[in-house]
């Protein structure tokens, strides 16, 4: 195995991993704070991909630019969804939440199937097949753009939670909902904001992914599963953890493709998941206890 080949594969793993991390950010935010597991995560991502595709098809809007309006739209959808529907399930049993979110997922994916059909749609970007030579390495342009996008979204989220009053209030809610309510925080509004933020992340991630993957309803369950793997490995609710775990899984998949067989990629990601669950059940960046 040549050094160049290994280096190429690792670079691809890192870039793919950052995109995985971006996909998982929204799930991490929602679960970490609202404590509702969004089983419709992949379906929302696919919906965002289709909206990005339509914006490109109708207005020639680049998916990386479309990420902004789609994130704003998804923020609104998430806010309303939490206030109107999900909030009444927050204190209910996990299986009730599970059925609600899976039901939502089924509606979304079948809606996409009815509107767009089963075939993949393609946004033909002028640079979608571009690559750069870095010595002996060839680096895909769109994956680099998506990786940069992931980092920007993660930094913006971190800044929001660390530097703003609303972010601090949301973190207080995540730590102790009852205490937050006692000191006068409007927990229902804060949860709705958080769900909105989580869906905004999913919207941005989905839009940016349109440049890499063709939207197709059958992508959704795989995306949900991958996001779960990343979030559990990184630690529930940890944004840094989600990004780091995304990279870890991306590199593990890429290296396993090289050392074993490409068809063993999923085995590598689940092996990482099992290892983390055994050795550090709270995840790499999760809080213990």
């Amino acid at each position: 195995m040549s050094l160049t080949l290994s280096a190429s594969v690792i670079v691809q793993g890192v870039l793919t991993g950052l995109v995985y991390g971006l996909m998982a950010l929204g799930l991490s935010v929602i679960f970490g704070i609202v404590r509702v597991v969004n089983f419709a995560h992949g379906e929302f991502a696919v919906l965002a991909m289709y909206i990005a595709y339509l914006l490109f098809f109708w207005l020639k809007l680049d998916p990386f630019l479309a990420a902004l309006p789609i994130a704003a739209l998804f923020f609104g959808v998430g806010y309303l969804l939490q206030r109107a529907l999900i909030n009444s399930f927050v204190a209910r049993a996990e299986h009730d939440q599970f059925i609600l979110m899976v039901g939502l997922a089924i509606v979304l994916v079948n809606g996409c199937l009815m509107i767009f059909g089963p075939e993949a749609r393609h946004a033909e970007l002028s640079y979608s097949l571009d690559s750069w030579l870095a010595g002996p390495l060839i680096i895909d342009a769109v994956r680099v753009y998506a990786a940069i996008g992931s980092l920007v979204v993660a930094l913006m989220l971190l800044a929001f939670f660390r530097l703003t009053d609303t972010g601090t209030a949301i973190r207080a809610c995540a730590d102790n909902r009852l205490a937050a309510a006692i000191v006068g925080l409007d927990t229902r509004r804060l949860y709705a904001l958080t769900f909105g933020l989580g869906l905004a992340c999913v919207g941005a991630a989905g839009a940016m992914q349109t440049a890499i993957i063709d939207p197709n309803p059958s992508l959704a369950p795989g995306m949900t599963l991958l996001a779960f793997t990343v979030v559990i490995v990184g630690g529930l609710g940890s944004l840094i953890g989600a990004l780091f775990a995304g990279i870890l899984i991306g590199v593990a998949e890429a290296l396993s493709s090289l050392v074993m067989a490409p068809s063993m990629k999923s085995l590598a990601s689940f092996a990482v998941l099992v290892l983390v669950l055994v050795l550090r059940p709270q995840g790499l960046f999760g809080k213990g206890g």
Binding site: S2, L5, P118, A120, I138, S218
Partner: protein, 418 residues
């Protein structure tokens, strides 16, 4: 007739008795086993295809053939009613939908494009004694496990690969090319794995003028194939032999372009993916010059022309040239059922199956000899041809007697195509 007077039989027939007898007769008729209802005027056939999920492009393509089949078979005087069912690209769904179709009155099943689903449906049909005609599915075990209620009108994986490799040799001979090396890249699903088995067994015996450097399995549902292409690039073969599905063929070409990897030929020794409409629409000029050695419609058959017309009427926005393999084999599966029903005069499962196994249909659409079945239920008379994408249209390039143009080899580079 008075109550006390003499009467025939054991009971008098009053209104209450008549009502009771009528109800009993109706219930008995409804509850009777299918054999007593077998003298049907038309044959009800369930079309089980993956019209959603990751196999949907191919499933939809087959479905368009099923839509055309209903009209054409009716025109040809066959009494057939086709019921369309989606297997969702899921083996378990295929199994449950097969059960449901039979429960709802299907007297024969056709489908399902995919070997895993075909194996699941075969078990149901065997238990229920309902004929199952496989339109497209290549896993050898389908006709090796002694199923009595299954026939396959498609090549096995071994036949596809053997014929595909022979045609690769013919292509190189015809173009006077001497390529040195190849890599075999295949999906790791039931079909792809069966093709890998056939390749491992047949390549060493095929005496081809190039060396097989490696065989690489990949997950057709993977989000990209960048690592697979990186491995390919590091091996730098002249020929990439592929067994793809639909979306993964698109991903493969994209990653080859991104990584500036330009093999001299991309050839499928018998698989879909490279001729799906999605492939042409998504890749445009980059879809050109791919070659696939597969069974194809015989352009010189009168029935092919009739199917093409029925296809155009049923599916005005789709191209028969692109769908013809899937549509052709799907049509033929219904033709086999309808022809057997006409000869047997019954929809009773065992009798209909005996008629299907005795088929000898000379007028049909796919290349090769008449449709017949051997003792295992396999049609041994299906031929392969070499087809190349030229100006986004599948074009037959070998054998010379039915070719419409000469093959373009080596494949032009990715840049500068129009």
């Amino acid at each position: 007739m008075s109550r006390s007077g003499p009467h025939f039989g054991a009971a008098r027939v009053d209104r209450r008795t008549l009502l009771l007898a009528g109800t009993t007769l109706s219930l008995a008729t409804l509850a009777a086993p299918p054999a007593t209802r077998a003298q049907a005027k038309s044959l009800r056939v369930a079309s089980l295809l993956p019209r959603s999920g990751f196999l949907a492009p191919a499933g939809q393509s087959c479905h368009r053939g099923a839509l055309a089949a209903q009209a054409l078979l009716t025109d040809l005087g066959h009494a057939i009613e086709i019921v369309h069912i989606d297997t969702e690209s899921n083996v378990e769904t295929a199994r449950t939908q097969a059960e449901r179709a039979i429960n709802e009155g299907a007297q024969a099943l056709v489908g399902p494009f995919e070997s895993g689903a075909a194996l699941a449906i075969a078990q149901v049909c065997e238990q229920r004694k309902v004929p199952f005609i496989v339109n497209i599915a290549a896993a050898p075990q389908l006709t090796e496990q002694g199923y009595q209620f299954l026939v396959r009108n498609f090549q096995t994986g071994g036949q596809l690969v053997a014929n595909g490799l022979k045609l690769i040799a013919s292509l190189l001979d015809a173009q006077k090319l001497s390529y040195q090396s190849a890599v075999f890249l295949h999906a790791n699903d039931t079909f792809g794995t069966a093709q890998r088995g056939a390749m491992d067994a047949l390549f060493p015996k095929a005496n081809l003028p190039f060396k097989l450097l490696d065989s690489i399995a990949y997950d057709p549902r993977a989000q990209d194939l960048s690592v697979e292409v990186t491995r390919l690039r590091s091996l730098s073969p002249d020929i990439v032999m592929v067994v793809t599905r639909a979306g993964d063929a698109v991903k493969l070409v994209r990653d080859m372009v991104r990584q500036r990897f330009e093999p001299k030929a991309i050839i499928s020794p018998g698989s879909p993916g490279l001729y799906d409409e999605e492939f042409f629409q998504t890749l445009g000029p980059l879809s050109d010059f791919m070659i696939y050695n597969v069974p194809w419609v015989n352009p010189k058959s009168a029935m092919t022309s009739a199917l093409e017309k029925a296809f155009a009427k049923a599916n005005p926005s789709n191209r028969f040239a692109v769908d013809c393999l899937n549509a052709g084999f799907t049509f033929e599966a219904f033709l086999i059922a309808a022809d057997a029903f006409k000869r047997a005069g019954t929809s009773n499962g065992p009798e209909l199956m005996a008629a299907i196994r005795a088929s000898n249909i000379t007028e049909h659409v796919m290349t090769g000899g008449p449709i017949t079945f051997d003792a295992k239920g396999q049609n041994p008379n299906i031929a392969s041809v070499s087809v190349q994408n030229i100006k986004r249209t599948p074009t037959v390039v070998l054998p010379a007697d039915i070719a419409t143009t000469a093959p373009v080899m080596p494949m032009p580079g990715w840049q500068g195509r129009s």
